[in-house]
Amino acid sequence: MKIAIPSEGTTLESIVNQSFGRTHYFIVVDSDTLQFKVIDNQAASAQGGAGIKAAQAVVDSGAEIVITFHCGQNAADVLKAAGIKIMKAVTGSVFEVVQKYKNGELMELMEIHPGYHNHGGV
């Protein structure tokens, strides 16, 4: 199972980032083998629509699950269109969060916020 997690760094020991659209990196990790690749999130500096751009990168990575603290409506629309499940992150490293997911300790992310810039740009 391929899991995408917003991350502050480029290793499994990196802390999970609080943001989805504007995270520095995504770690896309195979939950069985723990092999992973790093996506440098190009959307981090986008003027608007960061969530959409980040979600597009996650979809293109082939991830089937996203674990994140927050997710905006536009990003959720893209992820859901791709059939990606969104789980709520807990504080810790990417590795710890993956373990918690495997142990069934994580919940599905229910609150999708309407976006931080309700105008979406400018």
Binding site: A43, A46, Q47, G48, G49, A50, I52, K53, A55, Q56, V59, N74, D77, V78, A81, A82, G83, N118, H119, G120, G121, V122
Partner: protein
């Protein structure tokens, strides 16, 4: 003569100055380009004559023709497009209507449709004609509404353009064809900072300009000092007065009082001499 009224931040008194100048002229055209918060109509209370919709381009996709190349997705700097599971997703509120995606699609899968982002209201307030731009909530940019507001402006008579706050693209669009720019400032350090931003803008556009100090308090001379250093003319100083605040908060035109009417009229005469 077209006069634009601008300031570096909201709440400084652009609309206050604009509507009272229009009232003092008792003629001409008042245009509210502050399309996110068009408040001029609260004071001028125009009788509504015509409403026009402002529409912009929005792409629409024919998935039968789409090859999934994602050229459009990568092109869109506003991230209004995503391609997921053989489907192109379009986010209308992020689209800036540039049309680039349609232009670049080599399969002819994208076409242009139109969608409304706001309205322009045409009205009459006594002898003053009014135009009010209203941008729909959540839209990315008000510039198409401002462009619509500023088309077919009569060459004769006074035109007062009440600008959006700040010094962004929307303000540039509002002042670009103006003959004169009034910079409204508050007598605080914050006010000076905001004034310096719009001052740089009107210098860049090479527009004749002058400052009106609003809510002036005796002894607070930071704006005067800034104007003296940069040789910017001060057109008028409006005191920080309870009476003005009360009238304004009730949606009244302070120019209806003789003592204020004469100050606004003097400003108009000063500007007329300069242009």
């Amino acid at each position: 003569m077209r006069i634009s009224v601008l300031s570096g931040k909201g709440g400084t008194g652009k609309t206050f100055i604009s509507v009272n100048l229009a009232y003092a002229a008792n003629d001409g055209l008042y245009i509210d380009c502050d399309v996110e918060e068009p408040n001029g109509r609260i004071f001028l209370k125009p009788e509504l004559q015509l409403v026009e919709k402002v529409k912009v381009m929005l792409p629409t996709v024919d998935m039968d023709k789409c090859s999934g190349c994602k050229t459009c997705v990568h092109f869109c700097k506003y991230n209004a497009l995503a391609y997921v599971k053989n489907k192109l997703l379009i986010f209308p509120e992020l689209c800036h209507a540039c049309g680039g995606c349609v232009m670049l699609c080599s399969n002819g899968a994208l076409a242009e449709t139109r969608r409304a982002i706001g309205i322009v209201e045409y009205g009459q307030s006594g002898k003053i004609k009014t135009r009010t731009g209203v941008l729909n909530t959540g839209e990315a940019t008000g510039i198409p509404v401002i462009k619509h507001l500023l088309t077919d402006i009569p060459n004769e008579g006074l035109v007062v353009i009440d600008c959006p706050p700040g010094s962004s693209c929307a303000v540039m669009e509002s002042i670009k064809d103006s003959d004169y720019c009034i910079l409204v400032a508050e007598p605080t350090l914050f006010g000076v900072h905001n004034l310096s931003m719009v001052y740089k803008l009107v210098k860049l556009f090479d527009k004749p300009h002058g400052v009106i100090i609003n809510k002036a308090i005796e002894g607070e001379t930071v704006v005067e000092d800034y104007c003296r250093e940069n040789e910017i003319p001060i057109l008028m100083t409006i005191p920080y007065e309870l009476e003005i605040g009360l009238l304004n908060s009730q949606g009244m035109l302070v120019g209806q009082k003789d003592k204020y009417f004469s100050i606004f009229n003097k400003v108009l005469q000063k500007i007329k001499k300069e242009v």
